[in-house]
Symmetry: C2
């Protein structure tokens, strides 16, 4: 991996992905690869210059071979290298001599093979970098660019890909083939599909960055098992978001077993998945967990763009209405409540038996009236509460078998194009798309989306969430002056020091006094009304409870005795510990106890985690992670995503927690932790007790890497 080379600029990738002159190095009639590349260029209709290169000379594909790229009169935009690994370096030297600035290396036999391969790859990288050659690969299956009509990929072409606005970027060649086969199967339009292979030079981040400025592309799908340079990838995703382009990502290798598989076959770092998730979210990426969903989200967005509002569903089946209503509830997709005016209008359009509601069953009357569904769509799409309309029925089957089906499809497509909000058509379930269906769809310019409602509904929900999601637009720096706290930045800070640090950042902390003796503890307790908690103060003791160093709920007149007992207990348990006294704090009323922690993940940055304290986070896994820096809106959205949110929102008539105060405190803890820099291992407040407007840290710890 090119860790020290500068990232190629998007403009540098133009020659790579939109060449008007290509040199095929290793062209030969005896090579399957060579045949497939030439076939692929023919099928897609490439009409630029093509030069066949082979040091052996002679002929291939009915064309004369030149022995070296240096023998070509013009300077090709791009060299495609399909020679054995051992001959790649020599080919690259020729490329450099010919002044060619872009190359694709299909050949395998590099870093994917282990140490020896890595050395060969490093030699290749250094040579390319020296001559400023942009390289895709090695071990890359190339690409298909339907927009520029260039295909450079060694797998069978099948029928030609339909051109469209979905870009596919994948490290894995096999996954690229899977995605293109799926796209072909279901009549999905693709703009540019790239397999990046070993990512010696051009990485996924570079391709995404290129695609932000690629006019034909509206949505970018990414498959990867690792992010070699998170910052570059996140920056490219933020640019895409700002340009209104959706990035959908399948990052595989979350589980332990997957981590092992990836180790065996790429050697790439598989990071902490929850952290990756937080950063992808903050950069405006939609993450999915199957290749089908990758394409369905992309296919849906390609037709809808951003979705701002609730969904309306039209169908001719009551069963489908029920299935859709259930699925919408399961995934939290909002179904639009139709406005009174819409209901009135619908009653003019619908047959008597149909109920003017959402999901809307227009009834089997649509089987004889080919205009019914289109007229219904026009009314529903005008409803101000409707952000997207999905028409689900046996679309292709009807269009293929029945005259009214074709007519209905044409009218619907015209109405969808003119509709007041995005409107899409779909087979209710996933379905075969044969040649005849392709033709009928194309003739109608039908905005048909693949995958069936069970995949399209989650896609609509994801796009809706993306449309209104608060994202990080830039990595603004913020610091907190921690002033007088000069404790050495190592080990685990004592509760007292940690408390002082939080206070310096403006985080409310429960009052406390460090008492040097039981008598002093009693005096301190007398200053507060009510019962107190006692905790031993010692830099030598991390887990205070484990050594009997905590006593809770002590009445004021029992403090001196309790402190004496506590100190005796701790001294017995840890005879060598230096004890600085007893921390006295007032007991607080019960509230919602949150765990708030910030950690630093190498390569990615700081992440704040928040969830219910105690065993709840552990057993229920109810923790949200927010990549830092984050805006108040991002903190608030994270709190609302907690399953425990009703506890904060005031369940069973309890007083709701002051949300803006809580968000402010999270922001301060975040800013403080980031200020501490990369030496900080963790800042943890546990618990942060929230009860109405009173929100206080009851305990805190700061841990350093050193």
């Amino acid at each position: 991996m090119a860790t020290d080379s500068a990232a190629p600029s998007p403009a540098r990738l133009t020659h790579l992905f939109e060449p008007r002159s290509i040199a095929l190095i290793g062209a030969s009639d005896r090579s399957n690869w060579s045949h497939r590349i030439v076939d692929g260029l023919r099928v897609i209709g490439y009409d630029g210059a093509l030069h066949y290169v082979n040091p052996k000379g002679g002929e291939a594909h009915g064309q004369p071979l030149v022995r070296s790229v240096t023998d070509i009169e013009e300077t090709p935009d791009l060299a495609f290298v399909m020679v054995p690994a051992s001959a790649v370096l020599e080919a690259m030297r020729d490329i450099a001599r010919a002044g060619i600035t872009s190359a694709i290396v299909l050949s395998s036999g590099f870093a994917e093979l282990g140490d020896e391969g890595r050395r060969a790859q490093e030699e290749l990288r250094a040579l390319a970098a020296e001559h400023g050659i942009t390289v895709l690969g090695p071990n890359a299956l190339g690409y298909v660019n339907t927009d520029a009509r260039v295909a450079l990929k060694p797998f069978p072409p099948g029928e030609p890909l339909r051109s469209g606005s979905i870009a596919v970027v994948s490290q894995s060649g096999n996954v690229t083939v899977q995605l293109l086969n799926m796209a072909r199967s279901f009549d999905i339009g693709v703009s540019l599909a790239v397999s990046t292979g070993n990512e010696m030079d051009v990485r996924i981040a570079d391709v995404v960055d290129f695609l932000v400025d690629h006019e034909a592309t509206r949505v970018i799908t990414v498959f990867t098992e690792a992010f070699p340079d998170p910052h570059a990838f996140l920056a490219a995703c933020r640019r895409a978001r700002a340009a209104g382009k959706l990035v959908v990502c399948l990052k595989a290798g979350r589980s332990e077993a997957a981590a092992r598989a990836a180790l065996a076959h790429t050697g790439s770092l598989v990071g902490n998945d929850a952290v990756i998730d937080a950063f992808l979210r903050s950069a405006g990426v939609v993450r999915v967990s199957s290749l089908e969903d990758l394409l369905v989200v992309a296919d849906t967005f390609a037709h809808t763009g951003p979705i701002d509002g609730a969904m309306a569903l039209l169908t001719i089946s009551g069963g489908t209405c029920d299935i859709v209503a259930d699925a919408a509830e399961d995934i939290g997709l909002e179904l639009a409540e139709l406005a009174g005016e819409t209901v009135t209008e619908l009653k003019q359009v619908l047959p008597e038996l149909a109920a003017a509601q959402n999901p809307l069953d227009v009834t089997g009357a649509a089987v004889t009236d080919a205009t019914l569904m289109a007229r219904t769509l026009a009314v529903v799409a005008r409803d101000p509460g409707v952000g997207v309309v999905l028409v689900a029925q046996e679309m292709d089957h009807q269009a293929e078998n029945l005259a009214w089906g074709r007519e209905a499809l044409e009218r619907l497509s015209a109405e969808a194009a003119a509709a007041a909000c995005p409107a899409i058509l779909a087979n209710t379930t996933v379905r075969y798309v044969n040649e005849r269906v392709r033709e009928i769809r194309a003739a109608a310019a039908a905005p048909t989306v693949f995958g069936g409602v069970s995949r399209i509904l989650p896609a609509i929900a994801a796009i809706g969430e993306w449309t209104t999601r608060a994202v990080s637009t830039e990595a603004e720096e913020f610091t907190i002056d921690i002033g007088s706290i000069t404790a050495p930045r190592q080990g685990t800070w004592s509760e007292a020091t940690s408390r002082a640090l939080l206070e310096s950042a403006g985080v409310p902390v429960v009052p406390a006094v460090v008492a040097a003796s039981p008598a002093a503890a009693a005096a301190a307790a007398a200053d507060w009304e009510g019962r107190v908690a006692l905790k031993v103060v010692s830099d030598d003791i991390v887990h205070k409870s484990d050594v009997g160093g905590v006593a809770l709920d002590i009445a004021p007149d029992e403090v001196e005795d309790a402190a004496t007992t506590l100190l005796r207990r701790v001294s017995a348990a840890v005879p060598d510990a230096t004890i600085d006294g007893v921390l006295v704090t007032p007991m607080r009323e019960p509230g919602v106890d949150l765990l708030v922690g910030v950690i630093h993940e190498a390569g990615w940055g700081h992440v704040l985690a928040v969830g219910l304290g105690g065993i709840w986070a552990e057993v229920f896994g109810d923790v949200q992670r927010i990549a830092l820096p984050a805006s108040p809106a991002q903190f608030e959205a994270a709190l609302r995503r907690l399953r425990a949110w009703p506890l904060l929102d005031g369940v069973r008539g309890a007083e709701p927690v002051d949300l803006s105060a809580l968000v402010e405190i999270l922001s301060r803890i975040a800013a403080l932790a980031v200020s501490l820099g990369d030496d900080m291992a963790a800042v943890e407040v546990n618990p942060l007790r929230a009860r109405g407007t009173q929100i206080e840290a009851l305990d805190a710890a700061v841990v350093w890497n050193g």
Copy 2:
């Protein structure tokens, strides 16, 4: 609905689904329906007798028409009625006169139209019942029986359905069409597909019961929005389970919005979904939430049968390994740990670069060696820890485009057929199956499963769970003698009466004394060591805490004062309440507090719910429901399904709860509640405190319907 007619016996459905002589009533060259029925019979290759009936006489479909079924010489097995609703009753009278015992009524215009239609349907039902005629419909889209080669359905046939072992049963005609179109699209074999329509006589339960004895059928898929007769359906499902046949069910209409849609279009009762879920589980049904999953689970089971053991996955893509490992972890599907011997054998078979692990990437070497995958499969399937092998790759694409792909498919199919455990093949993602692929698959007899790994893995997990699931085999009766408790069965019983009831059933209850005065309370408390809880005793007070009627954690010497204060507080809050005293119980150490309740759902029966007590069940929805009666294994499985299970199992080194004791207590509470009969509205223990081997009810309530 035929609520008072006896269910047709399976044998009675033989004439309906396997007729050798059919009368088409309403045959006409001017009817689309008529053409489609005749086409359907021709395409499927029906070779029995066919009689064309129309009172107008003349000819249709090139055949002479008889004016009435009574004019046919023989007695047909089945009459298919496709006349207008107004003529159906007259047709049914003719059917009765002709001695025909089975009929399908395609005609709509009955109960689905409202009150008037319901009256017409009731007239039809009475007539059919009087003459012992078995009727499918009205408003039924008929059926396709690929085994008996009979198709009687009015939708376009498309290509003929492949025969297979999957039965489809659906109330909704539209959903039947969707499922058959999906089956055709993806080359899935169907045995019998039935749309039951208005279910005036033959209901889904009857068809399922018929299919239990239908040899060609191995797996039964059901779509419905309601269960008009739960007991008949559950009984049929239990018979299927006992026969080793899988029932997969999509019950739609769970959400509130769906309940509304169903109300608008069927008028069927939509029951409490969680209760339905519990009963379906107990009867051995696998429930899914999409039509795709309905077919994928069925398609997988059709090839694997029961799955007893963990999964092994073979592929040629590292990316797929990662995706599969992630998905398996997400859904709790166990990936087999390969035995040492398997690893040793694999090293002989696999190329050097491949790691002998699971998921297993055999590497791109399979692209040149068409035998590699088959040889690998043979080794992995012999591993004793492997219960099923899934081979996932670009199966169809390779077979269609490449000679090695076809050869690899043939070898793999032969090896799968001979394998030591079930082995199935799949495209990694969902994919188009064209005519050419169909032929190649058929020639190889390939055990290819539809849906891609993202749907097949959950299907394998569901089948594995089904294979080992404890189910209720019969509705055994059990009763608990509640002896001396003679309180009137109405309203809400007091805590003291409820406690006595639980004790009579052998449920451990925390000791308690009802003290008539504060002094008596102090005396009672003195009998136990440690602190106590006090609760007001009054039949007039349901929510004791709300009126200050509970005092917790009272020291022995403070009991009298606390009881006095408590009684004064309650009297002030509820001046009219009759107060019988103070209940004194010892405070218990904290433990896991469970909520255990039993309710009775009309039409279904008793259900026990168990989950964490307090706000946790409410906020996290972590409740399991078990249909009663249930076996100890079913209670234990339900406890293990709780997300809070780690709390019971001893998280963070805590003592685990005595599982067999807990199961015994749940069994006793269940038996008690069932003994109380249908007048019981709820028996609730909240909390049931579990701490190691000490498990006790701390509070209880019994509520009656009266």
